[in-house]
């Protein structure tokens, strides 16, 4: 494998030295481009109290192309599908090489606080979120308790 670009080294150092509250990203010991990520559910959201595992991978041409991020923990959210794939503009067409792992993870955290059912990835979830938000939020809470809370 080619040597790690300076940009990735810098970003990793900063993530370790000044971690973002509620977000924990640690590089894999065998692959410095692969990160084990933990995002805690934001307060006042249906995901509060949950601890969500994600994986983040920096492709070969990072930062020219966006990191690949996926939820490993099951989550009931209109912009996250059953496979944990995330519908987020900054991971797609709004990606800019000046964005960082840190900013992406912050955007994901913000997505948990403010789901956007008008730009859905999980259609059934988004549908319910639109027609019966109370029930959708109840489901999200249930899933959080069931899958994202360690006993």
């Amino acid at each position: 494998m080619s040597s790690l670009p300076r940009r990735i080294i810098k970003e990793t150092q900063r993530l370790m030295q000044e971690p973002v509250p509620g977000i924990n990203a640690i590089p894999d010991e065998n692959n410095a481009r692969y990160f084990h990520v933990i995002v805690t559910g934001p307060n006042d959201s249906p995901f509060e109290g949950g601890v969500f595992k994600l994986e983040l991978f920096l492709p070969e041409d990072y930062p020219m192309s966006a990191p690949k991020v996926r939820f490993i923990t099951k989550i009931y959210h209109p912009n996250i599908d059953r496979l944990g794939r995330i519908c987020l503009d900054v991971l797609k067409d709004k990606w800019s090489p000046a964005l960082q792992i840190r900013t992406i993870l912050l955007s994901i955290q913000a997505l948990l606080s403010a789901p956007n059912p008008d730009d859905p990835l999980a259609n059934d979830v988004a549908e319910l979120w639109k027609v019966n938000e109370a029930e959708a939020i109840r489901n999200a809470r249930e899933w959080t308790q069931k899958y994202a809370v360690e006993d």
Partner: protein, 509 residues
């Protein structure tokens, strides 16, 4: 082969058109029409087939003109012209009104100008600003930061000397290597004139000269220039790429309408406005709707693709191997219509009833189920005729090939000369032209509202259809070099065609 006929028909029309025209449009000045080909021929279209070099020259002239007036680089002039459909006058006017707003909407400058200048609406201030940017919209940071002081690039996180940095009017500064890799990544994805600044949420556009200054690999430079050229042509309302396979020709016309352009290099004919197959009298939106519908309903319509039908009299199976819809049973010699299976003898007077779809007058009171079935029936009526004429066109092409063999043997047997028989090819070409228009009258009729205008349309459509089948019948059976009868038939068919186009083809330029 088409052009000869068109010439003939045009000159014929000049003299004889007036009576017909008056019949439908009283009160029009016929003299104007005689003088102006645009009004005499509803399909008249002036256009030019240009090469890539011609177009480059044409675009460069516009760019240079703007350079001289606004004192900016060709690269920025291109961005402005691209944004304004290559309308120099509009650019200059906007520049004089509010240069700052122009630069912002063209995404040369960011909306709030906190970076280098306070917002200014005067042209002088804005052009002063452009000059400070080297009149090009980008600069090395050298002017702002001393060259010897090092600076950190936010993308690669490396520290380098100030002169290795470039920024656009927004001031977002990145190192040369990062810009270069970024440009190549974008070009690889087919993006050229729309490459934006690397900073997040910044929509300032990268002008051509910065890309070409930094990207040095010849393959990538070529790609960039090709993609940019495509964007320039597509943004120019008077230019169209020829849709012919692998054709490099660009068609230019100042009349942006649904007229037919025929490429001089590959002979592909297409609608100048939408680029699809020519579709008069139907307009661009309607033909698009129709073709989408046909593609969506292809399952339902599949059964129509039959090449054989049973003779309505003796019930023997008959294969259609010519374009003509006037069929004669090889077994019992019964003459009938392929479309509706009606007797051809009474067909002449009732042909109207064959092309027209008779709406159920009571449909509004019927159940949803009956309405749905009725809607399908109606669609299939029009689709069947559309599809049939398309097939007839192909079959008539085969007829011409057979004709060639037949004429060949006749000439060899001393019956006439090649020249004597040429008229048959002209007749076949005219037939194809007429049938093509007839085919495209069906989507037009399908979407037409019921009423007197639709009645008139269907009347003319039926007239055209009848004359076309007569012409097809006569061509398939031409045995002599006597052209009087056939020429007369050609004349009538073409006259019906132009009359219909004149009354219904939207000429909206």
């Amino acid at each position: 082969m088409d052009s000869d006929i068109e010439m003939d028909m045009e000159s014929d029309n000049d003299g004889e058109y007036d009576d017909d025209y008056d019949y439908y449009n009283t009160g029009e000045d016929c003299d104007v029409e005689r003088l102006d080909p645009k009004r005499a021929d509803p399909e008249y279209f002036e256009y030019e087939c240009l090469t890539v070099e011609d177009i480059e020259k044409l675009l460069n002239e516009r760019v240079e003109k703007l350079n001289t007036i606004l004192q900016i680089t060709p690269s920025l002039a291109k961005v402005l012209l691209l944004e304004h459909q290559w309308n120099n006058v509009a650019v200059v006017e906007k520049y004089r009104q509010d240069a700052n707003a122009l630069l912002v909407t063209a995404r040369i400058k960011p909306p709030s100008v906190a970076v280098t200048d306070t917002a200014s609406t005067s042209a002088a201030a804005a052009s002063a600003q452009l000059l400070r940017l080297g009149s090009s919209g980008y600069k090395t940071t050298a002017s702002a930061t001393p060259q010897y002081r090092s600076q950190m690039c936010p993308v690669c996180a490396s520290s380098q000397l100030g002169d290795k940095f470039y920024s656009l009017a927004c001031g977002h500064s990145f190192c040369k290597d990062c810009w270069t890799i970024y440009f190549e990544t974008q070009i690889f994805q087919g993006i050229s004139t729309q490459i934006g600044c690397m900073a997040q949420m910044c929509n300032v556009r990268v002008p051509e000269d910065l890309v070409l200054t930094l990207v040095t690999r010849p393959v990538m430079r070529d790609k960039y220039q090709q993609f940019a050229f495509k964007d320039y042509v597509k943004s120019h309302p008077e230019l169209r790429f020829c849709p012919g396979p692998n054709c490099q020709i660009i068609v230019q016309s100042s009349e942006i309408s649904a007229k037919r352009a025929i490429c001089k290099a590959c002979h592909t004919g297409f609608c100048f406005r939408c680029g699809m197959d020519y579709h008069a009298p139907t307009d661009c939106q309607v033909i698009k709707k129709w073709l989408t519908k046909c593609a969506d309903d292809s399952e339902t319509a599949n059964y129509i693709s039959a090449h054989t039908k049973d003779c309505p009299k003796c019930h023997i199976c008959i294969e259609k191997n010519g374009g003509c819809n006037h069929m004669q049973c090889f077994n019992c010699k019964h003459d009938f219509c392929w479309m509706c299976l009606g007797d051809w003898k009474t067909h002449g007077s009732e042909y109207y009833e064959c092309s027209r779809y008779k709406d159920n007058p009571n449909i509004a009171n019927e159940s949803v189920h009956v309405q749905a079935r009725e809607a399908l029936k109606k669609y299939l009526h029009y689709y069947e005729r559309w599809e049939n004429h398309s097939k007839s066109l192909k079959l008539e092409q085969q007829t011409i090939d057979r004709l060639r063999q037949r004429i060949n043997s006749k000439v060899m047997n001393g019956s006439g000369t090649w020249i004597d028989w040429q008229y048959l090819f002209n007749a076949a070409a005219l037939l194809a032209k007429c049938r093509y228009t007839l085919q495209y009258t069906y989507p037009y009729a399908y979407y037409m509202e019921a009423g007197s205008r639709k009645n008139l349309f269907e009347y003319q459509q039926a007239q055209l259809e009848a004359e076309i089948e007569n012409l097809s019948w006569k061509i398939e059976r031409a045995e002599t070099t006597d052209l009087g009868d056939l020429e007369n038939q050609m004349d009538i068919a073409e006259k019906r065609r132009t009359t219909l186009l004149k009354d219904f083809f939207p000429v909206d330029a």
